[in-house]
Symmetry: C2
Subunit: 387 residues, 2 copies
Amino acid sequence: MGSAAHLPKGETSRLSPPMTNDPRLTPLAASLPSTVPFVGPEAQERALGRPFKARLGANESVFGPSPRAIAAMQAEAAHSWKYGDPESHDLRQALAAHHGIPAAHIMVGEGIDGLLGLLVRLFVGPGDAVVTSAGAYPTFNYHVAGFGGTLHQIPYTGDFEDPARLTAKAAEVGAKLIYLANPDNPMGTFHDARTITDMIDHVPPGCLLILDEAYIDLAPPGRSVATDPADPRVIRMRTFSKAHGLAGARVGYAIGAASLIDAFNKVRNHFGMNRVGQAGALAALADQDWLTDVRDMVGHSRDQIARIAAENGLTSVPSSTNFVAIDCGRDGAFAARVRDALISLGIFVRMPFVAPQNRCIRVSCGTAQDMAAFAAALPQALASARS
Amino acid sequence: MGSAAHLPKGETSRLSPPMTNDPRLTPLAASLPSTVPFVGPEAQERALGRPFKARLGANESVFGPSPRAIAAMQAEAAHSWKYGDPESHDLRQALAAHHGIPAAHIMVGEGIDGLLGLLVRLFVGPGDAVVTSAGAYPTFNYHVAGFGGTLHQIPYTGDFEDPARLTAKAAEVGAKLIYLANPDNPMGTFHDARTITDMIDHVPPGCLLILDEAYIDLAPPGRSVATDPADPRVIRMRTFSKAHGLAGARVGYAIGAASLIDAFNKVRNHFGMNRVGQAGALAALADQDWLTDVRDMVGHSRDQIARIAAENGLTSVPSSTNFVAIDCGRDGAFAARVRDALISLGIFVRMPFVAPQNRCIRVSCGTAQDMAAFAAALPQALASARS
């Protein structure tokens, strides 16, 4: 062992571990909080002591996955003794056919959350600059902090993420990554093809745009951007968690340049995919009729949420997703009281984190029964928040 | 933007990204190969152009999960629209009761592979020393390389990982982590409680022993070590992938000091657990009778594998797992020819990576049909390898 006798008290050389029983985290890991980006609804139910009447807080699809996906998962359950195919070959081939691109441009992973973590790990080291919108996806920010990156946050313009300001900030700070969700979460707003194409053209050299399209299946048809999958400036993130109704299956995928897609193989957990989830996603992708039905049900529920808001004197933000941001008309503290009152009444909702978007609560689309429960609770929650 | 005019050609400052369209990986990520620790059997089947007759290469449990676990997964499939509980509360409580320890000592994650990746990330930065056995679990080595650690590898003694040499090397190099699988993979050997207790007592200060107990449910009953879960010197890794027959569900857990367990919350993918997998693991844990049946079937199959080996003039290594290492009697090149011949005959097997253990092929336990297929193929494979 090396000698640490010449070192100041409390310092140690690499070869001389400290004389304690405590193992040694990296300095970065030691500096990180043990925070959770979101508390799960189950934890809230345990705190409440009863289940929620309506689960409308996590933008899950209460309409469920395709019955064919459920059947495929049930059939595959008996084969759970086998590891999933580490290449997700069949799913990648089906996705390639669906998008009309080679499979070399597609990486399947454990949800967009998992893929974002890997992508950040590939690109971000201590001090590296990353640009996102203030109040955008906290789990992305969690990954950036987790690898020591420096996050630059741009305010929303209106209730839209601001592509021009995001790319300008990226150029200014030499960012390695820009994050943009389109459609946006938590506000539900949408940029059409022309705006996104223009944004991609303004991505600075050496920077990568992460286009999180978790909700793209629910956006206005025919208005989404088409990109060249070989374009090194952008990686698109897709998921089976939202319109496909498979949040619990943890299946997402990325579309990008082949060399970028292959880079995931440097760091990913190759045998990390759940076999039942792979089967469910494959069957879900094949049932585009179900997706059409979901779009209809989501559209109907969006209208209901907006109408319930209006009946209570509130406006709502036009949404291209499976949720609606309802403007509670005052500040973030008031919206938080509305949210807390709804939760105590058994309605699980969430809200934006940052002003002025945090004047809103965010309500996921639901069944007629969910909507009735929400309609019954909202007046009481508003009264409680105002008192 | 900052000026890079003073920099030598080809270098850039942080504020001046390179004038190319290629995004910038971290230096560590750029240095990593896009390797895969293991090629999956599905990829081999695609290459063969036909399915394997016997899937005996990945130490999966061909006996399958408990019928109650299958039923629980089938029931939960329809609820896949919900994210899994990020706290895995019910499973952690059940595991705590099973082990007779507080839930604060248990972290559930996406298989041992996923938990190993997180643990390495928490502890290992560039140049940090890690100790393992030469020829032990490649996925652990992959994670260490992925975070820039320096791996020190100790040869097996006989066909056993060598606790005394591992801890001595850890003290010599100031290692942050030691990896030991007990029972061992790929050789199947086992250290009893006294040896492991002694090893823990020799873990150097500032170092953590990762005790990978993936196969512990198949080890000789009553001879496993019991540790104080609050002991900061050791973290135990368990899985539902082996004896519980749920490899495809991706559910593992770690047992360790509460502060160490909580550190996973700094970096884990909080919503990463598959909901169907959580339900399957919970039901599997409750069906200990099934585990008893599996132990019997595995024990019977181990005997069959050893007998088949003996019928072909080969010896095998006594195993405390659901696989048997068969000594092919020559060097690694010969064993590789046997393995390749078996694969071409439709029998999926693998083999150790490092001499002299690579004189063996590794055959997972199987059904009577699997054993018959293996018995039929082995003489032909040996003849092919010898020719």
